[in-house]
């Protein structure tokens, strides 16, 4: 093999080294470029998540504002109207003979109006739970299940491990709505006889542990194709919380809701 061929071989060697160098550069470029686009993608994703979170919070706040307006309207207009009507009927009734047909008719009417006043009060109270602001989350939870404990074949135990815990109104209202939704699901679909709800504190989080002895998770999902569950998830997401369901439990429904107690949201 001549000198010329040896030179060709040398060119091969140099070419191989050059190609390896190019491959190294290409790999470096891929790594750096990939890091850059992934970081950018993560940043965009984070912004999108924040936007979604804000949107969710705004929607829930809007819902609560609307409920509050409705509650006030019901209480101030229809409530006042029915009270006036009740007074008039009672006045009219007092003028009638107690044995007359008119008296019996007015008696019935008074009773119906009284029921109307009571119903309006209940609806208004459900829409705007004043107990929550006046006496706190536990009292509001107890109040919202008072009717269940009276009439349904269901025992509801509510326990708070930190009775002096101070919560912001947003977190308390959110947890109350979640609790009400879970109770509704249990009553409607779970066929349970016992419910336990425990409020506790874990580091900087408030935890609501909920369990019933019903048919389990599938029962809770029956609620309008799981809309109740979606509402719960939205509310917890709006509070930056975590919603865990124990799918492994052989019987009953076990859920754990963990919401961070942000420093700015704690009232004294």
């Amino acid at each position: 093999m001549g000198e010329e061929n040896n030179q060709i071989v040398l060119i091969f060697v140099i070419s191989a080294a050059f190609v390896v160098l190019l491959a190294v550069l290409l790999i470096l470029f891929v790594v750096i470029y990939n890091k850059r686009i992934v970081t950018q993608e993560n940043r965009l994703q984070k912004l999108e998540n924040e936007r979604q979170q804000l949107l969710l919070k705004a929607t829930i706040e809007g819902q609560e504002r609307e409920r509050s307006r409705l509650a006030k309207d019901l209480h101030d207009s229809i409530g006042a109207l029915l009270s006036g009507l009740s007074l008039n009927l009672k006045f009219q009734k007092s003028k009638e003979d107690t044995n007359s047909k008119q008296f019996a008719f007015l008696e019935d009417a008074c009773q119906l109006v009284q029921e109307g006043i009571e119903n309006v009060r209940k609806v208004s109270h459900n829409l705007l739970p004043s107990t929550l602001e006046d006496f706190g989350l536990i009292s509001a939870m107890e109040e919202s299940v008072a009717f269940v404990n009276q009439y349904e074949n269901l025992q509801i135990m509510i326990k708070c491990e930190h009775p002096k815990m101070a919560l912001s109104n947003t977190i308390a209202l959110g947890l109350l709505r979640v609790f009400q939704e879970l109770i509704q699901n249990t009553i409607k679909h779970a066929e349970a006889t016992k419910v336990n709800a425990i409020i506790s504190c874990e580091a900087d989080d408030i935890v609501l542990t909920y369990n019933d002895n019903g048919v389990g998770f599938n029962g809770h999902l029956k609620d309008s194709k799981g809309i109740g569950m979606k509402n719960i998830q939205s509310r917890i997401q709006a509070l930056d919380g975590i919603f865990d369901i124990d799918y492994t439990a052989p019987k009953g429904f076990n859920a754990r809701i963990k919401v961070p107690l942000k420093t700015e949201s704690i009232i004294g």
Binding site: N5, N6, V9, V13, A16, N34
Partner: protein, 173 residues
């Protein structure tokens, strides 16, 4: 490993050229690497492509061994074809990684190191594989220089494979 051992035993016992084993080695290596890439590029490359790559290469390999170069010729074209296909697959994996935008630190994954090792090895050796019959006829010093480069690339490939295996272990942990 088995093929290398058999080739070595063949030389020591029969004293004949062990090039036929090299043909076999290329086929096994290609099919093994293709299987790995099939796993790495699942849902990204169509199944028909893998079938074509498998059967197409086997057909060309058989044609080369039986009808074209024969068992005792150095399989330069087949080896260059293998290198080319593997390089295309490596580039496909890199493209997939860039498109998916999921892996933030590719240097901490087994797949990245495996692909990088193959990229360096096959790109560096591509010309050597393609013109190896010509290079075999070179003067001893040049011939040695060429195969030293091949050896260095081999060492580099297996060092990178070691890093890849370390990352597999860390990922499993």
């Amino acid at each position: 490993m088995g093929i290398s051992l058999a080739a070595e035993l063949w030389v020591r016992t029969c004293g004949d050229s062990n090039i036929p084993f090299y043909h076999l080695y290329i086929l096994v290596e290609y099919l093994f690497l293709l299987k790995i890439f099939q796993i790495l590029l699942t849902h990204y490359v169509k199944n028909s492509v893998w079938k074509n790559l498998n059967f197409g290469f086997i057909v060309i390999w058989i044609f080369n061994v039986l009808l074209y170069q024969g068992w005792h010729a150095y399989p330069d074209y087949i080896h260059a074809l293998e290198a080319f296909i593997i390089l295309v697959l490596v580039l496909t994996w890199f493209t997939k990684m860039l498109k998916e935008k999921v892996v933030k630190n590719p240097e901490k994954t087994f797949e990245f190191w495996m692909c990088s090792g193959q990229m360096l090895f096959f790109s560096g050796n591509f010309l050597l594989f393609l013109f190896s019959n010509f290079l075999l006829s070179a003067d001893d010093p040049v011939y040695m220089a060429v195969w030293i480069i091949h050896l260095i690339l081999n060492l580099m490939l297996y060092s990178i494979y070691t890093i890849a295996i370390i990352w597999v272990k860390r990922t499993i942990k």
